[in-house]
């Protein structure tokens, strides 16, 4: 049995698309369900195409007896994400430059610390990290929420280090001979040249911060600092027999996830490059 290359190619494209649709199926089901009536959502056999579009599920997710999402949580998630990524980016860019291009004795030691920290994620040091925040009286504050996560600079510093160390040495020598100090080098050479690395870093960090659940859970026990992952966790835990209808819950998940899907589609090339680049060495 020999098929012509054209047919084999068509078959391969079809197969790749079918598997892709299967991988993304839970997302499509979520979006479809968020637009269905609750009756249609509970029909057996399950249906996947909405009979009519119930956009009111989305407004119901924000208000009324079925409210899932508090505006406050939405704002908190934005503050948390922007705070963590903005602060961490500055720390990692400067740190990356220092360990990539400056010469001092403890450089390799410091670099090793960053590398080791990659294998001890916050989740394994949760208890002592919480104790530190508790002793600094930062529980239930934005600082307590943001600083310990922004401080996880291992990945970013090494990412920028790798990127910056590939920049030609002559560039830096020339700037120094012209009398530029390191801050000017940072602003005029590193910052513009490291833009691709920044894109990759921001892409990965925004996703991580927005989707983070554990740290906000322990650092903000009170309701006023709650972020969106906690909101979803509450409806996820209650599950069956709850008061909020399923279509409104699906709409809530879409509302929380959509910003990240949009971010992801926009930054996907940078995201892919950043991850792929990390394996090149």
């Amino acid at each position: 049995m020999t098929l012509s290359p054209r047919i084999r190619r068509a078959f391969r494209i079809f197969f790749a698309t079918a598997v892709g649709l299967l991988m993304a199926a839970p997302l499509f089901y979520m979006v479809a369900g968020s637009l269905m009536s609750n009756e249609q959502l509970s029909i057996q056999p399950p249906e996947v195409i909405p009979n009519s579009l119930h956009f009111e599920n989305y407004s119901n997710a924000f208000s009324g007896v079925t409210q899932v999402i508090q505006l406050r949580s939405f704002v908190n998630s934005i503050i948390f994400t922007v705070g963590v990524v903005g602060l961490q980016w500055m720390l990692c860019l400067t740190g990356g430059l220092v360990v990539a291009k400056m010469r001092f004795r403890s450089r390799n030691l410091i670099t090793a610390f960053y590398a080791i920290s990659l294998f001890i994620p916050l989740i394994t040091t949760l208890i002592p990290a919480f104790v530190v925040v508790y002793e600094l009286k930062l529980v239930n504050t934005y600082a307590g929420l943001i600083l310990p996560i922004a401080a996880q600079t291992g990945f970013g510093t090494l990412l920028f280090r790798q990127y910056i160390s590939q920049m030609p040495e002559e560039l830096f020598d020339a700037a120094r001979i012209d009398g530029a100090n390191w801050w000017r080098i940072l602003r005029n050479i590193v910052l513009p040249l490291a833009r691709p690395a920044t894109a990759a870093y921001v892409a990965i960090s925004v996703l991580t911060a927005w989707n983070m659940y554990l740290w906000p859970l322990v650092a903000a026990e009170g309701g006023s600092l709650q972020v969106l992952t906690q909101t979803l966790a509450q409806v996820g835990t209650t599950g069956q027999g709850q008061v909020t209808p399923q279509n409104v819950i699906f709409a809530s998940v879409v509302i929380v996830t959509l910003p990240m899907i949009l971010v992801f589609l926009v930054v996907q090339p940078a995201f892919v490059r950043g991850l792929a680049g990390s394996g090149v060495e």
């Binding site: 649709l21 400067t94 600083l147 394996g279």
Partner: protein, 311 residues
């Protein structure tokens, strides 16, 4: 020989300049890296070292200072049957998750490693679950897993084959696997990206030549594709390991709370329960040391395996 003195002068002049610029570098470097190192020390290094110290104490955080109890926490750990259950559950969770992730990701990457008109859109389908959080996935999958009276989608499909579907999250036998499946789904995009990057470095001409020489898909996979991408496998495994470590808390806390009957009580979750549930911070810190040792052990095994594979 006559050149030696002048060369010496030149060398020492360079040395002085280098030394001078080094001294300048040192000061600039210290200032520039200070904020990074300060936060990194306070919130990363201090917890690592402090956690070890805390593990020799008993403390409920609110009352006074930790009390030194020596190795008591470790003795208690040895005698706590739930600890060994949790370690077993964690290892099972990781093994049942990481291995399929690595295998499936390579398959998916091979599947989408060719050019056609809408390749970018099709690849997006594979990668888009990466945008979802564990929390969001937990909500959706809870409904997908639903069992009787009205089946969720998964069990409806299974029941069509005339098989009694499992009660996924609520059954001691299936709950851990249920959480693994969700985590595999969430980890596959990143793992696939990594393998795809490696695949794209294999020149098409080599594969074409092999095809012309009559090598089938299987032989191409074994002799060309695998040697070309195997270097990526340790990284994929490590990324997956970290993802499953996170999943072993987020999903457990949202979907099963360690149940039913401790079937999904991973070590991370048991640490959380002891610390934030019972307020036993000393004991929880000792368990954290065990957790770090466990992850370290798994990494060591991975390293050995990858050494063997290279040979």
């Amino acid at each position: 020989m006559r050149q030696v003195p002048s060369a010496n002068v030149a060398v020492s002049a360079t040395r002085i300049r280098v030394r001078k610029s080094r001294r300048r570098d040192r000061r600039a470097a210290a200032v520039m890296i200070a904020p990074n190192l300060l936060l990194f020390t306070v919130f990363v290094l201090v917890p690592i070292v402090g956690g070890l110290a805390l593990s020799f104490t008993t403390w409920n955080i609110t009352n006074g200072w930790p009390k030194w109890v020596g190795l008591d926490n470790y003795r208690r750990m040895r005698d706590d049957p739930l600890v060994w259950e949790a370690v077993k559950t964690t290892v099972k969770f990781i093994v049942m998750g990481v291995i399929p992730t690595v295998v499936i990701a390579l398959g998916l990457a091979m599947l989408i490693n060719f050019r056609f008109r809408f390749v970018a859109a099709v690849r997006s389908l594979y990668l888009i679950p990466a945008a979802m959080s564990f929390a969001a996935s937990a909500v959706v999958w809870r409904y997908l897993y639903l069992n009787g009276p009205g089946y969720g989608v998964i069990n409806y499909v299974i029941s069509r084959f005339g098989v009694t579907p499992p009660d996924w999250l609520a059954s001691t036998q299936w709950s851990l696997l249920s959480l693994d499946i969700i985590t595999i789904w969430l980890t596959l995009p990143i793992a696939t990206i990594l393998y795809l990057a490696a695949l794209q470095r294999i020149p098409d001409s080599i594969i074409e030549a092999a095809t012309l020489d009559g090598a089938g898909a299987f032989r191409r996979a074994v002799h060309i594709v695998w040697p070309g991408v195997s270097y990526m496998t340790p990284l994929v495994a490590i990324v997956a390991l970290l993802s499953f470590t996170n999943g072993s808390f987020d999903l457990v806390n949202i979907l099963t709370k360690g149940g039913p009957l401790y079937a999904t009580q991973t070590l991370i979750y048991y640490i959380y329960v002891n610390g934030f549930g019972y307020g036993m911070f000393g004991y929880a810190a000792a368990l954290s040391v065990l957790q770090i040792a466990l992850i370290g052990g798994i990494l060591l095994v991975l390293r050995l395996l990858s050494r063997l594979a290279v040979r």
